[in-house]
Amino acid sequence: MHCYETKYDVIVVGAGHAGCEAALAPARMGCLTLLLNMSLDGMAVMSCNPSIGGLAKGHLVREIDALGGEMAKNIDATGIQFRVLNTRKGPAVRAGRAQADKQLYRLRMKYVLEHQDNLHVKQGEVTALYMQGDELMGVDTRSGIRFIGRTVILTTGTFMRGLIHIGLINYPGGRAGDLPSAGLSDDLRGLGFDVGRLKTGTPARLDGRTIDFSRLEAQYSDDNPVPFSFSTKRITMPQIPCYIAYTNSKTHEIIRSGLDRSPLYSGVIEGIGPRYCPSIEDKIVRFPEKERHQTFIEPEGLETVEYYPSGMSSSLPIDIQIAFYRSMEGLEKVEMMRPAYGIEYDYVNPIQLHATLETKLIKNLFHAGQINGTSGYEEAAGQGLLAGINAALRVKGKEPVRFARHESYIGVMVDDLVTLGVKEPYRMFTSRAEHRLLLREDNADIRLRDLGYRLGLVDEDTYSDFCNKKDEINKELERIKVTRIGLTPVEKEWCSHHDCKDIQKGTTLDQILRRPEIGYDQLQEIDQISKELTKEVREQVEIQIKYQGYISRQMEQIERMRKQEEVRIPEEFDYNNIPGLTLEVQEKLKRYKPDTLGQAARIEGITPAAVAIVAVMLKSRGEQKVES
């Protein structure tokens, strides 16, 4: 092994969506960082759907941006269709989604990585961790170079022992067209990691020149595309439509006829696939009564003719694939450019991680992204950012950061992963966040900007913009609390016009805004000052006022749980011989090794009484240290 002379602070293995954030963060925090990827042509590749965001995922992207990550800016610069979903529902569950030009997305990220100070980007496949005894020293690569680093972040995605399935044919690959990563997961297993197998899939790519778009319904971008990044002023990319097509009974018949050659139904695939991302054959088997299934035909870019039929992933044999795509209206003559396939890959059980994403087994080793059993670009990027930040903090000898469940979707995700583990690929849903009303896209900056700034990931200009916005919001909240309506004839007229004749003289503006029928759009008719507010300020104030009762109920809950949440359980804590704990509970706690009492309480089957007993034992054994 040739030992490379430069000694790195942070080595990131893999330049997928997790790896890119994981490398940028420490480099921006001043740590000398190395990013290794199997191929430098394959960085920030969107393996599956050509889009970023959507429910809960859009929330993650905004959080990444608030913390100073890159994903939001990257999609803003390369997105070709922006839409806000759920506009008719409340603000907490609104989310942005954008189609990306896949190649531009990848290239822009590559550019950012290559031009980042403190960051070295190199091609290389890591085959093993370089250990000296128990101590992590760096990584070994297939080409015979050993890199020395103080911390290592693994973000290997779907690549470790990746196995691609098309019908009953299967072959090793990290993603169609890419080699798998061999050796690393065996090495991890040897080091004591619990390595398991998961499965996911992707649809075929179709040639747009052979699709009759005139027979499909088009879906356009929003008129005023809303960017993901709080710093992006305007979306400048041309916007192009997606198309909606449907399966029919013929399609379903064809699919059923191929089930005997499906690797899933014939038992060839052992890995567990996601329920929320079913293949088309899954949908048809599980919901036989459904007459048709919808698919969005999404462009993969401005310059390419490739289209991505969402919701149509499959691992059926090629002949069946061709036939069923062609059975759909508008796709009768379609040419398939890349076949759909399923992929199985190795992941490492995330209960072996701390909430900092550092592994419990090996100090200074972090895991982020699909290796932790998640799926999705945004989930990967969020974890990559957190792992990158904590690796840098480790190098600097500082306390790590952890995200609480009520502060961010990243916090919810990481807590779910490390506390409960995964049984199927984990994807973010807003329903996973018990404090959903607090965790909105619109307030991601208010939740996380300060932290991003303190970490050194948010620059001065951006931060001062943010501070101004926050001041404005607070000023306005104050103003409407003390401004009262005098009920002049004009105002009286306004009240009856808006169906709220019961408003009394002396009612404050915030009380008026609390009414479901009144927003700033109405208020500004009688309130001059609200006309002068920026859109962002109006939005924030209105949301805060409208949700107020609910928000304060959630805050109370959080406050109640807070102390327990933060009490740390030392790693070496001995659960044996604790009087009052059943054997079953002891075994569970030994297996999950929760970091905090809060985590312990969330493990299935751990009762409040058991948590109380652990709390008492912590104290009495004098082993407990509360970290501030």
Binding site: V93, Q294, G311, F429, V616, L618
Partner: protein, 460 residues
């Protein structure tokens, strides 16, 4: 320092103990004390002197009902078990008095403590030394939580099964709402939410029914009535004397409400029991007059909660006794065989509808304790299941939980009515579910997702 709310719980084992203690911890302890306690001693500077016992009476803040007399002690932070202000209320140890007192604390602003919460607070507030000793015994030998849990496990089991049924429409509704939120492009029809509205309304009315069965309140306020029936020489008066003379019972004489009937109210371990004796008939003549007395006593049968049918155990059963037993209709009766010190002559098999048989000898005070225990158990411990097998709500904790679930569902319906966005509907449903979850077990995120993905064809 975090501001926590104020919690309350029963701190002594349930049952027939001598005194009962309700413990309150948190910032509102003192004000709660002031609301429900009126003491003989002057209160210094408008507050209770710390670590000092006050003697007085406890009242329910909602209706001013006198609960009991007893002692109050306030231990100011940090010199207390939890290092918060702790209030202890000492009263007579009967289950009903103690739970009524707990109810009063809740009405005065406390929240029912979760199991182990006092100990947890003691720990979280950095109370090390005593916490080890006291709290471990608290949890394990467990005066507070565990005995509470044990005593309630039976009740809970039954209630839990009823609630499990109520839970499923709520989870279905939640799955719908969540699918509608999280999959905007997956053709989840918001109108289907309408389909579950009826089911939710049904859940609400079931909850209301359950709440109506909350026996403690009724039982505590009005007591229960027990009717002594039997022929004149069956030993009613001696039994009555024995009952009212029981050491544990506190007797108060009330004038008979009718000329012919005597009522005595005794408190069995805190349960007020009105014993009605058709004693008036004794002063009359035999035969026809006796028939008249029996008729009057029988008039009372319908309104009594329990009948003690007294039969002289030393004599063979008479036809009149059997006739009497068959005239009791739906009111449950306990067969009391008096004079158990004499040889036993009764063929008890003939009283097949009796809910139990209790041999007593009033003269020698044999079996009286068993009889009082039986009566107490009958009303308190077994009041979980009414005769038709419907779950009843019998503890303050359960009532509190059901009330929370109920009001969340009310909010749900309101929000539905005014077209509130789905994330608020979801919150209401989640709150209702999490309340019920305190009895039935939590609804996990995974359970919910399971339901979403098995009900809707979703995802891409």
């Amino acid at each position: 320092m975090y501001i926590l709310d104020t919690i309350a719980a029963i701190a002594t084992p349930l049952g027939a103990g001598g005194i009962g203690i309700v413990r309150v911890s948190g910032p509102d302890s003192e004000s709660i004390g002031k609301l429900i306690f009126s003491g003989s001693k002057k209160i210094i500077g408008g507050g209770f002197e710390s670590h000092r016992l006050f003697y007085g009476r406890f009242f329910h803040p909602s209706d001013g009902f006198l609960i009991d007399e007893g002692m109050l002690v306030l231990m100011r932070a940090p010199r207390s078990y939890t290092r918060e202000d702790v209030l202890e209320l000492h009263c007579h140890g009967g289950y009903l008095i103690v739970s009524k007192l707990l109810d009063a604390c809740v009405a005065a602003g406390a929240r029912l403590a979760e199991p182990g919460e006092f100990t947890r607070r003691a720990f979280l507030n950095g109370r090390i030394d005593l916490a080890q000793a006291e709290s471990i015994s608290d949890i394990i030998s467990s005066s507070t939580d565990r005995s509470l849990a044990l005593a309630q496990s039976q009740r809970e089991g039954h209630l839990s099964r009823s609630l499990a049924e109520l839970r499923s429409p709520l989870i279905d509704a939640l799955a719908l709402v969540e699918a509608y939120i999280d999959f905007p492009e997956d053709e989840v029809d918001p109108l289907v939410i309408g389909a579950v509205l009826d089911r939710i309304a049904a859940v609400r009315s079931s909850l209301q029914k359950l709440l109506d069965t909350f026996t403690t309140a009724k039982v505590l306020r009005e007591g229960v009535s027990v009717l002594l029936l039997g022929r004149p020489n069956a030993g009613k008066s001696s039994l009555l004397n024995a009952l009212t003379g029981t050491e544990r019972a506190i007797v108060s004489h009330l004038p008979g409400t009718t000329r012919d009937l005597i009522e005595e109210t005794v408190s069995l371990y805190g349960l007020p029991v009105k014993i009605i004796d058709a004693a008036g008939i004794r002063s009359h003549h035999f035969d026809s007059v006796e028939q008249e007395g029996v008729r009057r006593a029988l008039d009372k049968v319908g309104s009594a909660d329990l009948i003690l049918l007294l039969i002289d155990g030393s004599k063979p059963v008479l036809n009149e006794d059997l006739e009497l037993a068959s005239n009791l209709g739906k009111t449950p009766y306990l067969l009391v065989l008096t004079k158990s010190d004499l040889p036993h002559m009764v063929d008890t098999a003939k009283f097949e509808n009796a809910i139990g048989i209790c041999p007593v000898s009033a003269k020698q005070a044999v079996g009286i304790n068993d009889l009082t225990m039986f009566i107490y158990d009958y009303f308190v411990s077994s009041s979980v299941v009414s005769s038709d097998g419907v779950a009843l709500v019998s503890t303050v904790r359960h009532r509190d939980i059901l009330l929370r679930a109920f009001s969340s569902l009310e909010r749900f319906s309101y929000n539905q009515l005014i077209n509130s966005p789905p994330e608020l509907l979801s919150l209401d449903l989640r709150e209702a579910l999490s309340a019920l979850g305190e009895i039935t077990g939590e609804t996990t995120a995974d359970e919910l997702l399971d339901l979403i993905f098995s009900s809707f064809c979703i995802g891409k």
